[in-house]
């Protein structure tokens, strides 16, 4: 579901810079009683900078960022920096509500916060809950906490895998049901809802008209295994001009557009994740396959990573990749069309095949260290080597003239994460 962004509009990440020194490192969340309801405020944030060795394209951490490290600027503070606040209210022993706001770089280069979550939870039993409102789209192992850098060893979730579903929330409902067979904890989750592009620019919308998913997690001691299936109906603005032009060529053009354009097309995602964290070391991995009968085709991503904890230091390693089954199309047949249209037909066919080949293929190797240097604050340094697939720009954006597809680049990242 990758979509390219409009031209860059450079500006500094001032928000996170302004907030961190004022906050210092306070101990605990504020918690107050209001007319019998317990209200707590928690927050999290990351202040990070990234340097890319390639100055002909931008590296970004998410689909929402209009620019990043590379062609827009050599060192970027917008890629990883964000701040979030969560207000939770326990209204009765069974009823609670959560609102989470996050301020990070938006597609229009502002830092206005958006409502990531806003839901009401009814705890039917201690092991069974129902939520309604804006809830998480639980595609990945770390979907619930992907913005909380302090909760993770690396600077950011692997972009190769996590870019396969840029939609992070659903307006709808979800439920979790927990079972305890013997020493095992099994949690079955289901979610249903829709996401009408509230964080994408109008010219580049990604709408999930509706989505539903079922996820099962099995925990046994330090081991976790998670399986998931997600089915959504997607509408993308990506490639609209090309498909509109194809439709001008009668039934054969319309058939091609219907075949490849992502207008209310189903996308199915199958996912498998596992982690093992006995304390002094940890390992985790995730695999995901996304399938769609459209130009998006079939994408497969996975990563495997781990680290070893030595006092306050946690060095880590990771490999991550995304690959795509690239298809091609013969496109319009010029034989049945007037001869003077041949150049236009050739251009459209080339455009169609360029779109089919534009899917990201990228392999990355990561090494870094996390240092828990004071309470509730960590410092991370990370080095990535990105190899782009032949002919591919990978997950990079803002590609400039002179960019070489299929090249290798390096990233150097530093980040401070905090919770309060």
């Amino acid at each position: 579901m990758t979509s390219r962004r409009p031209a860059p509009l450079p500006r500094l990440t001032v928000l996170a810079l302004a907030v961190v020194p004022a906050m210092g490192y306070r101990a605990n969340a504020a918690e107050v009683d209001l007319y019998g309801a317990t209200v707590s405020l928690n927050g999290f944030g990351t202040l990070g900078v990234v340097h890319s060795s390639n100055d002909k394209a931008d590296f970004t951490a998410t689909e929402f960022e209009p620019n990043g490290a590379g062609s827009s600027r050599s060192w970027s503070a917008s890629v990883d920096s964000l701040i979030g606040a969560q207000l939770a209210a326990t209204l009765t022993p069974k009823l609670s509500a959560v609102v989470q706001l996050i301020a990070q770089q938006n597609y229009d280069d502002t830092y206005w916060p958006h409502v990531e979550w806003a839901n009401i939870k009814y705890q039917v039993t201690p092991d069974f809950d129902l939520r309604a409102g804006r809830v998480v789209m639980p595609t990945f192992l770390a979907s619930d906490s992907r913005n909380v850098g302090y909760g993770h060893p690396w600077v950011r979730q692997p972009t190769e895998l996590y870019s396969l579903n840029p939609i992070t929330t659903l307006d709808g409902a979800d439920t979790a049901y927990r079972l305890h067979p013997g020493p095992v904890t099994n949690t079955l989750q289901a979610a249903y809802g829709r996401n009408l592009s509230f964080r994408f620019p109008a010219e580049n919308t990604v709408d999930a008209r509706y989505a539903w998913g079922v996820f099962d997690s099995v925990e046994y001691g330090a081991a976790l295994l998670r399986l998931g299936y997600l089915d959504s109906t997607i509408r993308l603005n990506s490639g609209a001009a090309l498909f509109n032009a194809l439709r001008q060529f009668g039934p054969q053009g319309s058939a091609i557009a219907a075949n490849y354009q992502v207008v209310d097309k189903p996308i199915t995602i199958e996912t498998l994740g596992a982690s093992y964290d006995p304390g002094h070391w940890f390992a985790m991995g995730e695999w995901l396959r996304s399938r769609s009968e459209s130009f998006l085709g079939v994408s497969t991503g996975w990563y495997i990573g781990g680290g070893y904890r030595m006092g306050a230091f946690t060095p880590f390693l990771m490999h991550s990749q995304v690959t795509e089954r690239i298809s091609s199309s013969p496109g319009l047949s010029a034989s049945s069309l007037p001869a003077d249209l041949a150049p236009a037909v050739a251009a459209l066919n080339a455009g169609l095949n360029a779109l089919l080949a534009s899917r990201p293929i990228q392999f990355s190797s990561t090494v870094g260290v996390r240092w828990d240097f004071i309470k509730d604050v960590d410092l991370k340094l990370q080095w990535d080597r990105l190899d782009l697939g032949a002919g591919s720009a990978g997950t990079l954006s803002n590609v400039q003239p002179g960019f070489q597809p299929g090249s290798r680049l390096y990233l150097l990242s530093a980040a401070v994460d905090f919770v309060f």
Partner: protein, 141 residues
């Protein structure tokens, strides 16, 4: 060759030479002497204190209470039952809190208050230095 290729490896080598040690006193998990619970395993304790269950193995309600953040007993307890440092526990809960699906156990100011809470409620489970154990509470791990 890219100039940022090398320093990362030097840094990792440096980190590998800086491993830290953990001191060990004797911290035990306790319930009220009135509780029917006699013994718990390390993994059962970890599940209760990490919010994976709110039940004892017999099905009765379990209410975990923590000592204050930064206390030696707390750090040692989590190191013992979950193999996790204070920072790891904080990172673990920061993930759960921001899902909106859980909160860490409530904390008390000191060990004496914790012992009072355990005495008063057979559902409560906590941890104390062995020297704090008396007839009103039972060691279960």
């Amino acid at each position: 060759m890219n100039p940022i290729g090398r320093p990362a490896w030097v840094l990792i080598a440096l980190m590998l030479s800086l491993a830290g040690g953990v001191a060990n006193a004797d911290v035990v998990a306790v319930v009220s002497a009135k509780s029917p619970i006699v013994a718990l395993s390390k993994s059962q304790l970890a599940d209760i204190f990490l919010g994976k269950t709110d039940r004892f193995p017999d099905g009765s309600q379990a209410v975990a209470i923590d000592q204050a953040e930064g206390s030696a007993a707390r750090d040692e307890f989590y190191d013992k039952v979950a193999g996790k440092s204070a920072a790891q526990i904080k990172a673990f809960w920061s993930k759960i809190i921001f899902t909106g699906r859980g909160q860490p156990p409530p904390t008390v100011a000191n060990a004496t208050e914790l012992r009072n809470r355990i005495r008063a409620n057979p559902s409560v489970i906590g941890y104390l230095d062995r020297g704090m154990v008396d007839d009103s509470v039972r060691v279960v791990f």
